[in-house]
């Protein structure tokens, strides 16, 4: 398989499963995507969609009972199967991650300075003094007032929004090529959320860094990403550009997610559209389309396993009712005709789009 030189991260057929007392649970079930240099990609889905486990697997941070298979190539280098030592050469340096809860991700016993200089000294072999100056500069870049003063403080002396800025500054220390942000603003107030989103938007414009933003709320990423992947029950159900997803959503789940956002900019104050039922129980998924039992448009045909279709423009959709006619180009892999795919539908080939 040839590697597109423009792709910073190429993920192929990624599966994550967990060994639990109730048996094996597949959290991510064959996901493909790529991130190009400088691009911002949002991965959207509910709890249990596998969005966080997907990136944790890429980062080599799965819980002990978790295992991942498939391929994740970062700058052409295979991350799957790397030892912790090898991963540590990449993580924090070219590939950085910030987590949802800024309080639990910072060490409460160490000053911000200690936590920030450690990274720069380790990866960039800076002296303490250089590392400190660099850390102050990063804090300034994320708009923390009086960075020289504040760097000496402990995490509890910062507000939630400021802590998340510190986390972002830490992620930026080694000027990574790819920053993964897992729900960076979910635990914050809307006002602070707006500030953090704006900050990410500015970073995206100013730097060459690629960003993966993970969220359960489509609205949060509306003006800060280039492309969007929507996940449900461990699989990609739709992907496309930001305009595709917001102005022309095709999968019923994406449409449901969009419609359930309470809006200030729409007239009327009636019933909100809600997606029926509960986030998927991965151990009791319906046969065929995993979203079938919550879908308002479900038909008899939905008991067949839907393939993931990708058109020439790179849009993809996993709704069997949305299958366009004619030839479909699976742009990342190979060309396949509808007839060939039809033969596969119903054979239980859930991962057909990942087969080489």
């Amino acid at each position: 398989m040839s590697v597109d030189p423009g792709n910073l991260l190429e993920v192929r057929g990624l599966k994550v499963s967990f060994d639990t007392p109730d048996g094996e649970v597949t959290a991510v079930n064959g996901v493909d995507f790529q991130v190009r240099a400088g691009e911002t990609l949002a991965i959207v889905g509910e709890s249990g969609s596998g969005k966080s486990q997907l990136v944790l697997a890429i980062m080599g941070l799965l819980a002990e009972n978790g295992s991942a298979s498939g391929s994740a190539k970062f700058q052409g280098q295979e991350l799957m199967g790397m030892t912790q030592k090898e991963l540590n050469q990449v993580r924090g340096k070219d590939l950085a991650m910030i987590f949802q809860d800024p309080m639990t991700s910072l060490n409460p016993f160490l000053t911000i300075e200690r936590q920030m200089t450690e990274v720069a000294m380790h990866h960039r072999k800076m002296s303490r003094r250089e590392a400190r100056a660099h850390a102050v500069e990063m804090l300034r870049a994320v708009r923390i007032p009086d960075p020289e003063e504040r760097i000496r403080q402990y995490p509890h002396e910062f507000s939630g929004g400021m802590r998340q800025r510190v986390m972002i500054a830490m992620g930026l220390l080694c000027e990574p090529d790819l920053l993964i942000a897992d729900e960076p603003s979910t635990a914050l107030d809307v006002t602070v959320q707006a500030q953090i989103t704006r900050l990410l938007g500015e970073l995206r414009q100013k730097s060459q860094m690629a960003i993966i933003l993970i969220t359960h709320d489509l609205a949060v990423v509306a003006d800060v990403c280039d492309r969007i992947i929507v996940m449900y029950a461990g699989q990609v159900v739709e992907c496309g550009t930001v305009d595709d997803i917001f102005y022309d959503p095709r999968h019923p789940y994406t449409r449901g997610l969009l419609a359930s956002v309470p809006r200030l900019d729409r007239a009327g104050d009636g019933e909100l559209h809600a997606i029926r039922g509960n986030p998927p129980n991965l151990q009791a998924l319906p046969a065929g389309c995993a979203f079938r039992d919550r879908c308002d448009d479900a038909q008899a045909i939905c008991t067949e396993t839907p393939p993931l279709w990708r058109d020439a423009a790179g849009r993809c959709n996993r709704c069997i009712q949305g299958l366009p006619g004619g030839e479909i180009v699976d742009s990342t892999l190979h060309t396949r005709s509808v007839a060939a795919a039809d033969a596969l539908v119903g054979t239980g080939a859930t991962d057909m789009e990942t087969a080489p």
Partner: protein, 338 residues
């Protein structure tokens, strides 16, 4: 408007802290709720919106008698709850109930859903037959959209949204007249938030409840409230009819909150983000700004705002606002009218 069932007058609740420093003991005062007043009619829904630290949860606790205010009154059907003794107050909780933010943490993991929902019945009606309690519990489960045959399941067997339904069923099992929902949806997925908001709306209509719905997001309360109150650092900044407040906010802070709401429309979101002038964090609550408490973050602040505390006043026949410049500012944010 019919006579209010709840009348909160000049409610003030300060927390005192000794500063935490052993060598420099000085008393510090945190004004969690500072002179808040509002009325609530039977069957009416009031949305209370503000950032963390705005005092909205403390206000809820004070109404329930879970925190003792220093000043002000909480008149429930004409009776001042702040003057009641422990036992009298406990009995009032048959009429006033609360739903908490974190649906999973607020349920006892060792109790079944049925036991959680039925517990208030056995507490308040010790002579009630077990069979009767179970029957009522099943009825409640059905009403909030749970399956009655899930009665013997434990909280961990339910999703977050279902746990919140259990919390709602428990709070309604005594047939209260007032339900206070403290951020009931902020811990839930967006798709599930809508279910819970719709459920609360339906129940409110069906049962004729008075409802206080607390959130940090103006868009969430829009779908459920008749009136909305915006709080900042313990004070009420604006209180108005929903229609008016959303189409023409009177307080700069209200309009900033509106611009912060995430909008699932890239072009509009970009525009709102460009226009958002609210910067920085809330000041330390131990050293609140003098004058208008919002003036440090307000681009419209003039000298007067630094000196005088704006009183909560009514503009004409309309809404209440605590801003010196409410008449002169046009703060509509240009969204389609409601």
């Amino acid at each position: 408007m019919t006579d209010p069932v709840l009348r909160v007058q000049d409610l003030t609740l300060h927390y005192h802290s000794d500063g935490g420093n052993l060598w420099q003991r000085r008393k510090r005062v945190l004004r969690a709720v500072d002179g808040v007043s509002f009325d609530l009619a039977a069957g009416e829904t009031l949305g209370i919106v503000g950032e963390s630290g705005s005092g909205k949860s403390t206000l809820a606790r004070a109404i329930l008698g879970l925190a003792k205010p220093q000043r002000g009154r909480v008149l429930w059907m004409g009776e001042d709850l702040t003057r009641l003794g422990h036992e009298e107050l406990r009995l009032k909780r048959k009429e006033i109930q609360i739903v908490f933010q974190d649906p999973v943490a607020s349920l006892n993991p060792r109790m079944t859903a049925g036991a959680i929902i039925g517990e208030p019945l056995s507490t308040f009606y010790p002579h009630m037959e077990q069979l009767q309690i179970e029957e009522r519990t099943r009825g409640m489960m059905k009403m909030v959209g749970l399956l009655p045959n899930q009665i013997n399941r434990y909280p961990h067997e339910f999703s977050g949204g279902q746990c919140q339904r259990i919390g709602i069923a428990r709070s309604l099992v005594l047939n209260p007249k007032l339900l206070i929902c403290d951020e009931p949806v902020s811990a839930l997925d967006v798709s599930i938030q809508a279910q819970i908001i719709n459920l609360l709306r339906d129940l409110q209509k069906k049962l004729g409840l008075a409802l206080i719905f607390i959130a940090h997001d103006l868009s969430v309360v829009k779908h459920i409230s008749d009136r909305v109150m915006v709080m900042y650092m313990g004070r009420s900044m604006e209180l108005g009819q929903k229609q008016a407040l959303y189409s023409r906010p009177l307080h700069p802070y209200t309009s900033a909150l509106m611009k912060s709401v995430p909008v699932p429309d890239p072009k509009l979101a970009h525009k709102l983000r460009q226009d958002l002038w609210l910067k920085g964090d809330m000041p330390s609550p131990f050293q609140p700004p003098k004058g208008c408490i919002f003036h440090t973050r307000c681009p419209f602040a003039v000298n007067r705002c630094q000196a005088d505390v704006p009183a909560m006043r009514r503009l004409g026949q309309g809404d209440w606002v605590a801003c010196h410049r409410a008449e002169e500012l046009d703060l509509s944010i240009g969204l389609p009218a409601l």
